[in-house]
Amino acid sequence: MQAEQLRVLVTKIGFDGHDRGSRVVAAYLRDAGMEVIYTPPWQEVAAVVALAMQEDVDVIGISSLATDHLIIPELMDALREAGLGHVTVIVGGIVPETEIRTLSEAGVARVFGPGASREDIVEQVTALGSESRKSKLSSDEFAI
């Protein structure tokens, strides 16, 4: 009867500290009814994996305004290793076109550029999050 609320981790890895974008996106998702776990910048890859697991998130949104997207492939490997390969990872910010492909190949579901609209972000996160939810442990698996 009651739908499970989408849970999204909004974070920044690497070295850049500018968080205006991640804060605005966190507010968008909150206003769309999602529960957003928000972290300050400069998270370690291992910390993001632990957070995603403990908070049982459906989507991880990484904001990258400088060059921090260059270590996202490392994050994707770490997530898969921890059994969180089903969690959708999206990236927002400034990623040069030539490097978007590298991220897609590493498993990133979507890269939002600086012009991405609120509507587009909310719609995509909802769709992608509901999809990755399907691969999570279901309530039936707790009943046995």
Binding site: F15, G17, H18, R20, A27, W42, P96, P114, G115
Partner: protein, 568 residues
Amino acid sequence: MTQVQFKTPNDPQEQLMLPGFDEAQADWRRDYDGQIGKDRRITNRSGIEIAPIYTPQDWNADRHMADLGFPGQAPYTRGIYPTMHRGRTWSQRQLIGLGTPADYNKRVRNILELGASAISLLPCNSGFRGIDCDESPLALLGTCGTVVNTVDHMDQALDQVPLDEISTAMNDPSPFTLFAFLLGVAKRRGIPWTKITGTSNQSDYISHYVANHMFYRLSQPGSRRVLVDHVAFCRANVPNWNPVSVVGQHMQQAGATPAETMGFALSTAIQYAEDCMARGMDPDTILPRFTFFFDISISFFEEVAKFRAGRRIWARIAKERLGAKDPRSWRFKFHGQTSGVDLTAQQPLNNIARVAVQATAGIFSGLQSMHTDAYDEAISCPTEEAARIAVATQNILREEAHLCDVIDPLGGSYYVETLTNQMEEDILKVMDQIDAAGGMYEAVGSGLVQTMIGQSALAAQEKIEDGTEKIVGVNCYREDDGTVEQPLPYRPDAGAMKAHVKAFRKFKRERSQQEVDTAISELRRASDNEEINVFEKVVDAASVGVTHGEIISTLREELGFGHPLMVA
């Protein structure tokens, strides 16, 4: 002149034929409302409603002496020096940071040849975070800023750069290791510290706490202590260095409106001045070396009004509130950087036009020093060609456009004067809020400033979403992205960076460990004892080969590790 004359012709017959002000205004109003309607409201980024026209009813020359005066005189609206850009134009100071120290050196010498008159060093983001290159992921090193971790690295970065002739700004937050390395290099080259000029560009730790969450450096109280010591050290040893630069830029980039930005910046300057004065420093020995650092956004008139109002408020505060008697203390010296927030990754060459408009606003505001962004800065660390065009933009505006012929050329415009007064009012309101919260240090600690900025950022984004604020190529005039080619991003040579890290490790193994240990224990001793200048010990440590990361981690242990303030 005491009376504004609306009718100037001398011929009485002609005068009769001209309509009176009221009648003309009523006629215009009717025509305007008929064609546009009454409902069309325009507000600027600071939330001030902009009228369709300004007249002597809004501002008139009766207020000339009260509001404007002359340049180099109170109330300083028109500029801080009598000659302004007619005497000496601004310093052309391009912020550069990329790759290894050798990469930086190549770029900086190139820029100096192109006409830059001052230099600026941006450290690698790993440095901002307080760690050395041997602890960082190789993929990120030098992609955003130059990897400078030791005095040797600084020596390489500034090879053949005449330190006694050129002003150097260090983008260097507390505890100012880059500046300490610079002093070490000067010592090596036999250049007296009194000849070193420039600015600690990122000394404003409060702005870091607000906008960049620089909590991976020192705790708020720790940063406060180091800054005051830094000011005291420079006053005694490097008298031509500006130890304080209040970075309004961080506030505006994080989303503060232009009026809020100026209010926060001025309140921050008051905080730093009062902290120094509490330690017994005379305001007239410190304020002449206070500088400001701002973003210049593309909201043209608003920016001009922001700077003119800020200059006026600072002069009054320095004199009346802080008690400075020397006019040099009243001067609001500022560096302007064209705002990267306004640049777009879409259709990147358009950014050249944006930067030219922003820079013009800065010039009309009477800035002392300027950085113009490269057009590809919204995509990556600037490529060489983009960096060249950024410098050329300044050259064109200065040499070709006749922008510097007249001092404060927008002064006396009904609009600009009205807006300057309105911005001043709004800035003062923000400053009152900060005062009520116990000053900037407290207002940041309690999260008030972050809350205000967060709300403004969201409101600004909503204006873009709903199309009130238009951005060409983003929410209007979009083109198929495939048709516009993006420049290739700058990435440092991986092999050279690997070699740089390897050499750094070797350097650490081979330096005198005894000297390093002594310097670090001195650093600890100073941290525990407020009587000893802790920054002096940073300088000593830097010159014997203690690294950036080692200095910071020592001070973190002693003065507290910064924690995130209000985040959500």
